[in-house]
């Protein structure tokens, strides 16, 4: 086989500086020289940098990801494709994934967030699924940091701007503030789609000489080196990286969606891959490599937005809303007609070949000729040094003296940035389009009807980064357990999850220690809870000037309800229902929001997660929901029991009177401790005795802690707190921070 020497007079010479600018380390460049047996051309260097950066190659994380459980009878496709796929019965499959767009969102909040949403939606419909819901998890810097407000405003508007126009309901998520995100916000976007289980489309090409078709928007100079930028930490020059951020066009994406689903329905497609990170390079290489085929691209046919684009620029452009496909040759005309109808570009830009080479031609010259399998398979793989995080001291409930009354503490907590209502955020997202949103944002998990029912999906995104920082292993477990719990709290059976692992610089051993610890925790929780990982994304180098973010492994969970009309909500339903607390309360204050926001101490070991108790308690609560006994259900998490009960009261306008705390647990620790595996459940008084007996028989801690009624929340021995006053505080913080009058609740 001939190896064409690729030389082009217009391309710059390869120098050590140029190699370094491409984010390749000297030893990685040596590896390239060895692999191809010669000096790469400029275009080839660009292709290697795109394929071998952290974002695309997972070179620091791959060996650790192997430890995650990815299989279950209902898993159709685990990690490694555009998105994970699970079977939900009736011939239907759910396709979902979460992905970060952190660096771009910090540099240019609106466009960074829009293209994050656009990218993840493409991942889902590339597989043949119509997106039916989006979620997101957002981490912002401290509220008083000078950039935070404008980043919040831009990111939220961007997420809405894309999803609202594309036409998918954004139904849930998380928003947090912490000074460790001051210089590096996190934007994690999740998309969930619905497909026929036997009509899933994959990236692997098949057949030699098949036409490779370019579809969607034209290629411009935007986003060149976006993936490389996302694989480096920020310095003071973050602003200068603005040109690497792409610009989103939700209208083009909507057209691309409809056109793709139409040609899929007409059986025109052999393989399909969206052009995301590293654009044409990554998509073409993946299609060939996965199908054990070579690919030859002719860049003269690529639809370009700008004049005079070089091969290098076309191969590295991250222009949005583009797809690459291998079509059935006999269906080419039909597919083209569909794309023309939707006003989209359609061009044959290459062929599959039997050579296992990745050949790129432009203007009659061969600009790149590389071994296609090795571009992915031979990417560097690092087992980076790590040190485990040092354990934090356990803080006993009695070690903390309450600085204020428990009533005052509750009122204060409800108006803190991390616990207050997120209405200001989710009202900017169209969360009702589609007419299938059963449970809107603000509950434990969103519930979305599947087609015309009766099935429904329970969807959530969770992680508690301060726990992960204090104890990566327990924090990793807790992120999975909380997602599982939130799905359970609406009556769903948790099926599978997608993980979005956001960490600092992996070249620092303490960061690798966090990463490895969190992954161990996630893996153990997934195994115990039978909740496999089917897709995910790793985002490293989230640091600025050497300061890393809190370790933030966001878990996006998907659960199934056989009958969505049986789903539970957190709002109290009527007066005189008994309030039960399921799960054991020891009064764990370490890393609690009470300790941080009331006592001013971000301190201690986080609550340990007893996975067996999680499973036992959750299964018990789900059964109460499904047999109709449970009237209102809420999981107990950030802020503890008092916050959970207050949220149930505010959601309904019905008050609650709570009994004296458990003996042996100080009142403040009882109300605000963040012990795990707990739920608040209301049931009719007549059912209490039987439920408590059943719980005892199952080895589950359950206690009657009060009764619903009135228009106030009354913690034992504390002054009553009127619900409307609590709600005013709860709803007030966000609009006030964003400098607007509070909306009517």
């Amino acid at each position: 086989m001939s190896r064409q020497q690729t030389k082009n007079a217009n391309e710059p010479a390869i120098t050590p500086d140029l190699v370094a600018q491409h984010g390749l380390k000297p030893d990685e460049y040596e590896r390239i020289l060895k692999l191809i047996g010669r000096e790469p051309s400029f275009t080839e260097l660009g292709i290697f940098s795109a394929m071998w950066n952290e974002h695309c190659s997972y070179k620091s994380s791959r060996i650790h990801l192997r430890g995650l459980p990815t299989k279950a009878p209902w898993v159709i496709q685990g990690p490694g494709e555009n998105a994970g796929v699970i079977d939900i019965g009736d011939g239907l499959a759910v396709v979902f994934k979460m992905e970060s767009h952190n660096h771009p969102s910090y540099i240019e909040p609106y466009q960074g967030a829009t293209t994050g949403v656009g990218g993840i939606l493409r991942d889902v419909f590339t597989m043949g699924a119509r997106p039916i819901a989006c979620l997101n998890a957002l981490s912002f810097g401290a509220p008083d940091h000078p950039r935070t407000r404008s980043i919040v405003s831009g990111v939220v508007a961007g997420i809405g701007g894309y999803g609202n126009s594309f036409g998918v309901p954004t139904v849930g998520g998380q928003v947090r503030f912490h000074t460790r995100y001051d210089g590096n916000c996190l934007v994690n976007a999740m998309a969930v789609g619905l497909a026929e289980a036997d009509k899933i489309f994959y990236a692997a090409a098949s057949g030699v000489g098949m036409p490779i078709v370019y579809l969607g928007s034209k290629t411009g100079r935007d986003g060149i080196h976006g993936a490389t930028m996302a694989s480096a930490e920020f310095g003071e020059d973050a602003e200068e990286k603005r040109p690497t951020v792409q610009v989103g066009d939700p209208f083009a994406e909507k057209l691309l969606l409809e056109a793709c689903l139409e040609i899929m329905a007409n059986d025109c497609v052999i393989a399909i891959q969206d052009m995301g990170a590293a654009g044409l390079t990554c998509s073409a290489v993946e299609m060939g490599a996965k199908g054990d085929l070579g690919v030859e691209l002719d860049l003269d046919s690529v639809p370009c937005r700008e004049e005079g684009m070089s091969a290098y620029e076309m191969m590295l452009s991250e222009s949005q809303e583009r797809m690459l496909m291998v079509l059935r040759p006999e269906k080419e005309k039909e597919a083209e007609a569909i794309f023309r109808k939707w006003g989209l570009d359609f061009a044959i830009v290459g062929r599959t070949t039997p050579t296992l080479r990745f050949v790129v031609k432009h203007g009659g010259d061969v600009m790149a000729d590389l071994p296609i399998k090795e571009l992915g398979d031979e990417a560097p793989l690092y087992d980076r040094p790590s040190v485990p995080s040092s354990p934090r001291p356990v803080i006993g409930p009695a070690d903390i003296n309450p600085p204020m009354s428990n009533a005052e503490a509750l009122e204060t907590l409800l108006a803190t940035p991390d616990l207050c209502s997120r209405r200001w955020v989710w009202e900017q997202y169209d969360h009702v389009i589609g007419g299938n949103t059963v449970q809107r944002p603000g509950g434990d998990a969103a519930v979305v009807r599947v087609l015309d029912g009766p099935k429904g999906l329970a969807l959530t995104a969770d992680v508690t980064p301060r726990y992960c920082e204090a104890d990566p292993y327990e924090g990793g477990k807790q992120a999975v357990a909380e997602a599982w719990r939130n799905i359970t709290a609406v009556g769903g059976t948790p099926l599978a999850l997608t993980d979005n692992l956001n960490f600092g610089n992996p070249e620092r051993p303490e960061i690798m220690g966090q990463f490895i610890g969190c992954l161990r925790g996630i893996g153990d929780a997934c195994r115990t809870l039978d909740f496999p990982v089917v897709s995910g994304n790793v985002s490293l180098y989230n640091e600025t000037n050497g300061r890393g973010i809190l370790p933030t492994p966001t878990i996006g969970g998907v659960g199934l309800l056989d009958d969505f009309t049986r789903s539970a909500t957190l709002a109290f339903k009527s007066d005189n229902e008994c309030i039960l607390l399921i799960g054991e309360t020891a009064g764990w204050l370490g890393q609690s929001l009470y300790l941080r926001d009331i006592c001013g101490r971000e301190d201690g070991a986080p609550p340990p997660v007893d996975l067996a108790a999680e499973k036992r308690n959750g299964d018990f609560v789900r059964a109460l929901i499904l047999d109709g006994t449970a009237k209102a259900v809420h999981d107990v998490s950030d802020g503890g029991l008092a916050v959970a009960v207050a949220e149930m009261a505010m959601a309904s306008g019905i008050g609650a009177t709570l009994d004296t705390p458990h003996p042996g647990v100080p009142a403040h620790a009882f109300w605000f401790g963040e012990d795990q595996a707990r739920y608040v459940v209301t049931v009719p008084a007549a059912a209490v005795r039987d439920i408590l007996a059943r719980a005892e028989a199952a080895g589950i801690h359950a206690a009657r802690i009060g009764v619903t009624g009135g228009r106030a929340v009354m913690l034992a021995d504390e002054r009553p707190m009127a619900i409307d006053k609590l709600a005013a505080k709860f709803e007030g913080w966000f609009p006030a921070y964003m400098q607007e009058p509070a909306a009517e609740a």
């Binding site: 508007a157 809405g160 701007g161 609202n164 126009s165 594309f166 036409g167 066009d249 939700p250 209208f251 083009a252 909507k254 057209l255 939707w342 006003g343 989710w426 009202e427 900017q428 997202y429 169209d430 969360h431 009702v432 389009i433 589609g434 007419g435 299938n436 059963v438 009807r449 029912g453 009309t565 607007e740 909306a743 009517e744």
Partner: protein, 233 residues
């Protein structure tokens, strides 16, 4: 009912609208592509659903208003045929000159999605005969540009001729600026054309038509239309 739902590229609530019409009337609506020049024979209701036609990168609805199919809609309306525009559909009908006024950016300059309350000002129209006069209904809004504005004379005429069909109100039906989320003039949420056969409204009644989904306040509009068209047939 023989409804035609227009589909401009970028609209995204056509499926919601089709479901609502099917649930209420039992008939499937025909989806009519923007490049068509005629409506299906016998069309008795044209619906322009919500979304972002052509991305709405220009003025909302401005491009759609000039699409080929709009000529057919104009002639349908001129012959007294019923036309319903919701959200982007309302914006398109305004841009097409079938309704007066314009929808501006929401007063707070943000997209807003929430349930709002509407006061039904008249129940003697084909669009509202499924409601009682002064009934308060709860329906969602989801728009960034729903702030209805027209010149003083136009608004005076709309009011004088009873062409304001829906107004944003509080849960008890009282007009209150705190419940007028987008800042529309006179809390206007929906208006009729002069001949009373074209309605444009910002809120989405099509998203509140199923008991099982928690609220059916939007049903009245479609039931009223179905009943009206049945009688007319």
């Amino acid at each position: 009912m023989k409804a035609a739902i227009l589909l401009f590229p970028g609209l995204n609530r056509e499926r919601d609208m089709a479901r609502a019409l099917r649930l209420v009337s039992g008939n499937d609506a025909t989806i009519v592509w923007h490049a068509e020049t005629a409506l299906p024979a016998g069309t008795d209701l044209v619906v322009v659903p919500g979304g972002f036609s052509y991305g709405d990168y220009l003025r909302c609805g401005a491009i759609a208003a000039r699409a080929p199919v709009m000529e057919a809609v104009r002639s349908h309306a001129a012959k007294g045929g019923l036309v319903l525009g919701v959200c982007n559909g309302f914006q398109i009908l305004c841009e097409a000159g079938l309704l007066p006024g314009v929808l501006m950016r929401n007063q707070n300059r943000r997209f807003i999605c929430r349930d709002v309350y509407l006061r039904v000002e008249r129940a003697d129209t084909p669009f509202t005969q499924g409601y009682r006069r002064r009934q308060t209904i709860r329906v969602p809004v989801a728009h960034g540009e729903g702030n209805y504005i027209a010149d003083g004379e136009t608004v005076a005429r709309l009011e004088g001729e009873g062409r304001v069909l829906f107004r944003y109100c509080d849960p008890d039906g009282l007009i209150d600026p705190n419940w007028n989320h987008n800042g529309a003039m006179n809390a206007i949420a929906g208006i009729l054309n002069e001949s009373g056969n074209v309605l444009g409204m910002m809120p989405h009644p099509e998203n509140h038509v199923e008991e099982i989904m928690g609220c059916t306040d939007g049903r009245g509009l479609f039931e009223g239309l179905a009943d009206h068209l049945k009688r007319a047939a």
